[in-house]
Every structure is written in structure tokens, then in C-alpha cells.
């Protein structure tokens, strides 16, 4: 039996090779065949989920909520030391210095990363902005969101913090962050489908001990974090409850 593995399309493009190396490690470790399929955007990912073509996934809690509650996916692990945070950004020369300076009618550039969009919308509330009084401009990726701001085609941009931090210095010098979330408890996670159930325990063990040897440690480091922590069903349920309060 061959299993399908995917990663939500919000990781930095530089990490593509690292995810393929991770998949090779995974197959050797569990002695199973796994095909890694990466998607260009969340719409493609959703189509693949709807077709039950995903057995193993590393994704944000917004996507995880549907997988756990509607499709019976089980949590495995979560990356150590990093959480999902969002940044609200304007052009460096904008008159706006704080969220409260933003007015109804502003044009917001954003991606289809719902996790980030939800946290960002919440951070606009102190300015009494909501989806009914702002204009949305959907972009394929965060570099394009940055360009919309630099070219004055949008007033505000929503960024995944990890993606904002990896923008080039040249781009960042033309941007001004207004507020960064510090939620800490919303994290990406590794989940598996009911079809993968027999390997759940072995996968969890493999991930949690992955950084104990040099080779495993190197692979995790290349993915951008330090180690994997075990993620329980209750921790996941609570994270989903939290997401519900932000909707």
C-alpha cells in the first residue's frame, strides 16, 4: 500500500527540497511507501483532501480543524518552539502608524491562508474593520502581497510571520509592520488519516525521537525548527476550540 503525504502550501518555497528529504527519511524509518505531493495553493490542497487523497499531512490548525472533526484525522506531533503568528503590514512611507489609524474602505492584500487571515482580521477589530467594510485583494503568495503594498495597489497586507521574516531585506525595507500577533498556542501540526491508523504510534515515536540523532536533527533543522513534540487529541481539540472563538 502506498500512502500520500502533503504539506500545506504556506511553507517558504526554499524548504521544498527539505520536505522531499524528510519524506525519504520517513519511508526508511517506517518501512512504508509514501508519495509526497505538494500543492501550489490551499484550493488545490482542499481538492485533494475532498478526494480522500491525503493520508499524512503537515498543516495549520485551520485546515486541521476540518480534518479532525469531519474526517477523523489523528494528531501526531507539533514543531517545537514555533507558533503560527500573523503580521499586519503597510508600506514603509504610509501615514498609518497603528491599526487604529486604518479607516473603512481600506484595500487589503492577502493570500488564501485562512489561519493567517483569521488572526489578521481579529487584529483589525480595534479599528472597527471587518470583512464588510474592507476591500480584499487575493494574491497567490506573500511576495505578491508585499508587491501590492510597495506598488500602492493595496493599503494593508496580511502576512504569515514566518513568511514575512523570510522576505528579502530589500523588500522589507519598503514595508512597515503595524502589529504582530503573540498568540503562542496556535501551531502547525502533523496529522494522519484513519487509513494510516496502524502506523500512527510508530510515526509518533519516530518524530518525537527524530532529533536524537545527528541525521534526523539536521533534517528537522532544515525544515525550520528544532524538534517535534507529541501532540495529543485533547491538545488538538482545544486548539480547534480556540480557532472557533476567532471565527
Amino acid at each position: 500500500m502506498k500512502y500520500n503525504f502533503t504539506v500545506s502550501p504556506d511553507f517558504p518555497p526554499e524548504r521544498i527540497a527539505s520536505w522531499y528529504i524528510f519524506n525519504t527519511w520517513l519511508q526508511k524509518k517506517l518501512d512504508i511507501a509514501v508519495h509526497l505531493e505538494l500543492h501550489n495553493n490551499f484550493k488545490e490542497l482542499q481538492a485533494s483532501i475532498d478526494n480522500d487523497a491525503v493520508d499524512i499531512i503537515y498543516t495549520n490548525p485551520f485546515e486541521a480543524a476540518g480534518l479532525v472533526r469531519d474526517k477523523g484525522f489523528m494528531p501526531v506531533a507539533t514543531p517545537q518552539g514555533i507558533s503560527d503568528e500573523a503580521v499586519i503590514v503597510v508600506a514603509a512611507d504610509s501615514d498609518v502608524d497603528k491599526v487604529e489609524d486604518l479607516k473603512p474602505g481600506v484595500k487589503v492584500a492577502l493570500t488564501d491562508d485562512q489561519d493567517v487571515n483569521m488572526i489578521s482580521m481579529m487584529m483589525l477589530e480595534p479599528a472597527e474593520l471587518n470583512k464588510d467594510n474592507i476591500e480584499l485583494s487575493n494574491q497567490d503568495n506573500y511576495v505578491l502581497v508585499a508587491k501590492q503594498l510597495m506598488n500602492k495597489k493595496a493599503d494593508v497586507g496580511f502576512f504569515y510571520k514566518a513568511a514575512y521574516d523570510e522576505l528579502s531585506g530589500m523588500i522589507k525595507s519598503q514595508l512597515k509592520p503595524l502589529v504582530t500577533s503573540e498568540i503562542s498556542v496556535i501551531k502547525h501540526m502533523f496529522l494522519v488519516s484513519p487509513r494510516f491508523k496502524e502506523h500512527h504510534a510508530a510515526l509518533q515515536e519516530a518524530l518525537v525521537t527524530m532529533s536524537d540523532d545527528d541525521k534526523g536533527k539536521q533534517i528537522v533543522t532544515d525544515l525550520g525548527f528544532e524538534a517535534w513534540d507529541k501532540q495529543t487529541q485533547e491538545e488538538t481539540e482545544f486548539m480547534i476550540d480556540l480557532m472557533d472563538t476567532l471565527k
Binding site: 480595534p126 472597527e128 500577533s181 503573540e182 498568540i183 503562542s184 472557533d244
Partner: protein, 165 residues
């Protein structure tokens, strides 16, 4: 034991109020008109058991309350209750949770030092295998204009309640 406010912890000029609690008991609180600003970008999170006793709280909750974490765990969530919030609001929270629904609204919370902070709160039941195992609340920064409106509304409601806290 319920943790009660002490005059020596209060900073600034205060007024004393006696709150009558839902369980029939009373407690004395000391209230100043000093506002503590909501921490930018943060969420204040707590969890309670089905009786409203705090079981978990995050760092922002501890920081904003002015109490230590160990002074909060095991205490009723009403440790934050401010006399300016009408009783009908709390009844609405509990009626909504009792119907297994999500409650959202504005609350003014009281700190250990007598000052206050406004929040835009959402409270939800934590449902596991079809059963409510507790409640959680996530509080975010409110819009200043909304607070101005709600202050007027809550003042009217308190008057209708006979001015008693």
C-alpha cells in the same frame, strides 16, 4: 479558599463595593478608575471546569489579572468580576453556554490592584464526544468606539437592576 482583594494591594484612590454573587455569597472589591491597556497582538485565554472554576490560563491572562498563576488556578472565574458589569450580562453568558452555544460580548475586568481592562470576549463550551467537559474564553482587544457605546448601555442596565451590584 476564595482569593479576595486586599486594600494593601490596591494602587490609587479606590471605592469599595460589595458584590452579591450568583451562589448567594458576597464579596468586597476595591475599584479605581485606572485603565490597564490591552496588550497589543495578544489573546487572553482561560479554561474552566463546568462550574466556572479556572483550570488553565495563559501568560497574558496572568499578566492582565495582576494575580499570580497559582492564585488563579482553582478560583472561580468571577475573580475578575467588576461592579460595572450588569448581572444580566453574566446570566446571558451562562444561559448561552447552557444552551451549548458560543457567547460573545464586551466585559470590563477587575485587576488585583483595583484597576480595570476592557475585553472583547468569546466564551465557548468544550465539547468532547458529545459532552461538555468545561468552558474556554478567548479575549481580544476591543474597539474604543464599541466600549464607549457599551458603557452607556451597561450603565442603563445597572440602573434597571436597581443600582445594586
Amino acid at each position: 479558599m476564595m482569593n479576595v482583594m486586599k486594600k494593601e494591594d490596591v494602587v490609587g484612590d479606590y471605592k469599595e463595593y460589595t458584590l452579591s454573587l450568583y451562589d448567594g455569597s458576597e464579596k468586597t472589591v476595591y475599584v479605581t478608575d485606572i485603565e490597564k491597556p490591552f496588550p497589543e497582538g495578544k489573546l487572553i485565554v482561560s479554561r474552566t471546569d463546568t462550574q466556572g472554576i479556572i483550570t488553565h490560563c495563559n501568560e497574558a491572562f496572568v499578566f492582565m489579572s495582576g494575580w499570580k498563576e497559582e492564585e488563579l488556578i482553582g478560583q472561580p472565574q468571577n475573580i475578575l468580576r467588576h461592579p460595572d458589569i450588569p448581572k444580566a450580562v453574566f446570566k446571558d453568558i451562562w444561559d448561552t453556554l447552557g444552551a451549548n452555544k458560543k457567547w460573545s460580548g464586551y466585559l470590563k475586568n477587575l485587576r488585583k490592584d483595583g484597576s480595570y481592562y476592557w475585553v472583547n470576549a468569546t466564551v465557548i463550551p468544550n465539547v468532547r464526544n458529545g459532552e461538555v467537559v468545561g468552558y474556554a474564553s478567548v479575549r481580544r482587544k476591543p474597539a474604543a468606539n464599541q466600549i464607549k457605546k457599551i458603557e452607556v448601555e451597561y450603565a442603563k442596565m445597572r440602573e434597571q437592576e436597581g443600582g445594586a451590584s
